[in-house]
């Protein structure tokens, strides 16, 4: 049962990343969010932040980068993006 949950979470992340690379940000956001509901993860919060930033939702992007950093203080890319869009 646990395994299935993880794989479905991973499916959504992969789907979101696929949409992201194809610049379908709204679709990417949708699947990142589903993945995060299943299992909160710093890297996924960061990527959701990227999707928000790419679609110019700056305050939501900031929020996601912050959440990513709460879960993983060493996630430099999140810190960097947060800095770039906050200044």
């Amino acid at each position: 049962m646990k395994k299935k949950k993880n794989s479905s979470c991973q499916d959504h992340i992969e789907l979101a990343q696929f949409y992201m690379l194809n610049q379908k940000y709204q679709e990417a956001i949708k699947h990142f969010k589903i993945a995060l509901e299943i299992k909160p993860d710093a890297q996924v919060y960061y990527q959701l932040g990227l999707a928000y930033e790419a679609s110019n939702e700056i305050s939501l992007a900031q929020e996601m980068y912050r959440k990513a950093l709460e879960l993983d203080k060493t996630l430099n890319e999140a810190a960097e993006h947060l800095k770039n869009i906050t200044t």
Binding site: Q23, Q26, L50, I58
Partner: protein, 229 residues
């Protein structure tokens, strides 16, 4: 019945108001002591007069008492604007709007009977400040009191259309200077990120995509229309 207007003082503010009112089809009388300024308006407005607006008799003869609204905009000259305002009220103009240059000037104008005192510079500044806090505007450069450059998230209505289809200059009277686009990439570490690409002076066939940030040049009010999309 349509209102009739008199615009006294054809500086930048006065002449823009007079033009805008005439374009909307109102009867407009313009008054300035400078013949050259007035001549420019002879074909635009109903009545254009070269006269000294501090001369009570001249104002009376011009029929100023019959206008519904008089707009006084005589530049930085505070004494003149006060005197003209006083005369207009004495001659029975129903509604007198006066441009003030500062608070003190504004207070005096109100005291002598101006129906509305405006501070155009301050109002424009406030509006700009408001637009600046709009989350969709990323950057902003003021070129002149009327024109600026803004960097703004491309409105949804623009997505999927080419520059030619958008016809920004015709429809909105603004020029598109650049399109900034974030291209998703996978970094060496295997994590997603994106890089920014800037397309300066885009071609007519270039298309706006979701997430694009566009840089526009135009008049403040035209840029504001796009911002509201």
């Amino acid at each position: 019945m349509a209102k009739t207007f008199a615009v006294i003082g054809l500086g930048r503010f006065g002449s823009n108001i007079a033009k805008a009112l005439a374009e909307k089809g109102f009867d407009v009388m313009v008054i300035d002591s400078d013949e050259n300024e007035v001549r420019e308006f002879s074909e635009i407005v109903t009545n254009s007069l070269v006269l000294d607006a501090t001369d009570e008799r001249a104002l009376k003869e011009a029929g100023i008492s019959d206008v519904d609204v008089a707009i006084v905009s005589v530049g930085q000259n505070i004494d003149t604007s006060i005197l003209i305002t006083l005369l207009l009220k004495e001659l029975g103009v129903k509604y007198v709007v006066v441009k003030a240059v500062n608070d003190k000037h504004g207070k005096i104008l109100q005291r002598i009977g101006a129906d509305k005192v405006i501070y155009p510079e301050r109002e424009v500044a406030t509006r700009l400040a408001e637009s600046f806090v709009s989350p969709k505007i990323f950057d902003y450069i003021e070129l002149s009191p009327t024109h600026s450059i803004i960097e703004i998230a491309a409105p949804k209505e623009f997505v999927g259309k080419t520059i030619r289809e958008l016809a920004l200059r015709e429809k909105y009277r603004v020029s598109l200077i650049a399109i900034k686009r974030r291209i998703p990439i996978i970094t060496n570490k295997g994590t997603p990120d994106f890089k920014e690409e800037i397309n300066i002076s885009p071609a007519a066939d270039d298309e706006i995509q979701e997430g694009d940030v566009i840089t526009l040049l135009g008049k403040y009010e035209d840029l504001e229309r796009i911002e509201r999309l």
